[in-house]
């Protein structure tokens, strides 16, 4: 195991590969810090750009954006009190208070250190768990995969939103979208309405760019922007100096229990399909408040509050990679893109990945370990330029992103038809946002439905059309029990903990 890890580390630290990780981190810092632009958005638009790159380089680029994009949202959250990405919403509560108290340099330094620790803890758990899980997953047959996909779908639907009806509706729409195209077993055409462009199904790029790109940018139209400028202009943010860093490092030891509590939460939430850093951050914040020595300080610049959400948020990255590489079931919206990147480069995620494409999967783990250090180093050096960038008017940037969405959607299939589909999904995404429907369940069912359907039908053939025979398979039963336990424990945690900010 360690041999493979060191081999992958050596491979990604080679200058011609490492430069892509650095470029990814820089892009991630920018899109993460800018409110309205997210890591998922940048990754999905970059994905077609990576066509021409070798697999290793393109994975490093995307991993850089992934890790840095989730971290950087907190720079904006702390400096000006507006989360740069949804994952940093919980950071605003205590982080921004610290800035108002004149401790911005210290708070941002501490934030970067906490993210570094969270990321590395998540990466280590991922590196230890994923290969073992893959060995177990080798025992899986079609019925087990069908069950796994079903468990994934029901988890994301029931947990990602307060309204079960809305989650279910979003999931059912995602399933319906996935049905268009070719029947996975017989190869017969379904729902293409005689349109030849639909014969291969509705394009992954069009769906993803529409929902995570166009819809996201367009929902930034309106009054929200001017608030950002005024807040950013007024913000008095110090550059992070060595003194700040030293003072921040001194806080780490007293925060050790908070860190140790939040990291497992983040990793667990990450490993559950479809639950992302935003939920991990709220849970981590809530949990540290529960155990805090001085809970009354929460919301008034508590370092424990900052640590609670930051560590959970960053540990989520490693957790989300676990199911992505072992089962091919993405843990959050960013790993949906990582999964897409692997598939576009002809690498099929799943337990065989560790044997067939050992270097690719270990390079993902290596990136999880290296990217946080690059992020912290570059991020700490560029605090003031980042805040300056956020205070620029967005009326040039957002339209440019819309153009990127168009070109990106086109790049997936080289047809204008897919750009139309992207527009349609952009409209769907905006409508869902306005009506408070969750988007992630839709995307995850869209990704998992083909897997579930084909494996279920293959499984039925295996047992001569007698579904009851599934229960004679020990691995199936184990998986069913684990799935039910994960489901119950997760919904139990959710019912006890508020995942929404106190108004």
């Amino acid at each position: 195991m360690s041999g493979e890890l060191f081999g992958a580390l050596a491979a990604i630290l080679a200058p011609h590969v490492f430069i892509y990780l650095v470029v990814g981190v820089v892009l991630g810092l920018i899109v993460g810090a800018l409110p309205g632009l997210t890591a998922t958005m940048a990754m999905i638009i970059l994905l077609p750009v990576t066509y021409s790159l070798p697999t290793l380089e393109s994975i490093q680029l995307l991993m850089g954006v992934f890790v840095a994009g989730i971290t950087a949202g907190s720079i904006t959250a702390i400096a000006i009190g507006i989360p740069g990405t949804p994952a940093s919403a919980a950071t605003v509560l205590d982080g921004h208070k610290l800035t108002l108290m004149g401790r911005s340099g210290e708070a941002i330094s501490l934030m970067f250190l906490l993210n570094l620790i969270g990321n590395v803890l998540g990466a280590l758990v991922c590196i230890m768990v994923a290969p073992q899980l893959a060995v177990f997953a080798l025992k899986f047959g079609p019925p087990e995969y069908a069950l796994l996909a079903l468990i994934g779908m029901s988890l994301v639907i029931s947990l990602s939103n307060t309204s079960l009806l809305k989650g279910l509706t979003a999931g059912a729409i995602g399933m319906a979208i996935a049905l268009v195209g070719v029947d996975p077993m017989t190869g017969g055409a379904r729902f293409n309405m005689g349109v030849s462009d639909l014969a291969g199904g509705i394009g992954y790029g069009a769906v993803m760019i529409g929902l995570f790109g166009l819809a996201e940018v367009l929902s930034g139209i309106g009054a929200k922007q001017s608030d950002v400028f005024t807040a950013a202009r007024k913000a008095d943010v110090e550059a992070a100096s060595l003194t700040h860093l030293r003072r921040a490092a001194a806080h780490l030891w007293p925060l050790r229990w908070t860190i140790m509590r939040s990291a497992p939460i983040g990793i667990f939430i990450g490993a559950l399909p479809g639950l992302g850093s935003d939920i991990a951050a709220w849970l981590g914040y809530d949990m540290s408040k529960r155990f805090a020595k001085k809970p009354e300080e929460f919301g008034k610049g508590s370092l424990e509050g900052l640590a609670g959400c930051e560590v959970a948020k960053s540990a989520e990255d490693g957790g989300a990679i676990i199911p992505t590489v072992t089962f091919g079931i993405p843990g959050d919206s960013q790993t949906v893109v990582i999964l897409g990147a692997l598939m576009l480069h002809g690498v099929r995620p799943g337990p065989m990945l560790f044997q067939q494409h050992s270097l690719v999967v270990w390079s993902i783990f290596a990136a999880l370990l290296v990217a946080p250090f690059v992020t912290a180093a570059l991020g700490l050096l560029t605090v003031r330029p980042t805040v300056w960038l956020v205070s620029r008017p967005t009326h040039l940037l957002y339209p440019a992103v819309v153009m990127f969405c168009i070109v990106g959607a086109f790049a997936y299939s080289n047809t204008v038809f897919d750009v139309w589909m992207m527009l349609a999904f952009g409209a769907l995404g905006i409508a869902m946002k306005l009506l408070d429907y969750p988007i992630v369940p839709l995307v995850l069912t869209y990704i998992l439905t083909p897997l579930m359907e084909s494996e279920f039908r293959r499984g039925l053939m295996l047992v001569h059309n007698n579904p009851l025979e599934f229960f004679t398979r020990p691995v199936f039963v184990i998986l069913l029990i684990v799935g039910v336990v994960a489901f119950l424990s997760a919904s139990n945690v959710f019912s006890r903990v508020s995942v929404k900010p106190p108004d």
Binding site: P48, S52, L179, T186, H395, A400, M403, G426, E453
Partner: protein, 136 residues
């Protein structure tokens, strides 16, 4: 929704064929639709207030963005004489105005610059086959 799935019945030897999952999804969507209608009617009666309103000017702007993008795509697809390098700058100019930019020569110049940079980057550097006009 279930239209067109019937034709597949009996083709497959298994108890479920290509029509199975579409049928499940169709039934699911129908049930969810009915539940949503009931829920919203219940809520409307309880509140007697219109649902949380969307700022009309923002909605109008978003509609204009989609309109501009649709016109752009139609022209890009149907009028091969124009192509991306000629159509992108006006689109970007309109988008900048809709996102709150000023109507000025400067904005137009910036729009042209950004649009052509995107074109050069994707087409000339990455080799993407965007519909270009015959003149470039």
């Amino acid at each position: 929704m279930a239209l067109g799935t019937r034709a597949f019945r009996g083709e497959d030897s298994g108890i479920i064929g290509p029509a199975f999952l579409p049928l499940v999804v169709a039934v699911l969507l129908a049930i969810l639709g009915i539940l949503t209608i009931f829920k919203s009617r219940g809520a409307a009666i309880a509140n007697r207030e219109p649902a949380r309103g969307v700022d009309r000017r923002v909605a109008l702007r978003i509609a204009f963005v989609f309109g501009a993008l649709a016109i752009f795509l139609v022209l890009l697809h149907k009028v091969p004489m124009l192509g991306f390098p000629l159509l992108a700058p006006p689109l970007l100019f309109v988008l900048i105005l809709l996102f709150g930019g000023r109507f000025s020569v400067g904005t137009a110049v910036v729009a042209i610059l950004i649009a052509e940079c995107i074109y050069l980057f994707f087409v000339k550097w990455l080799g993407l086959l965007l519909p270009a006009s015959a003149w470039f």
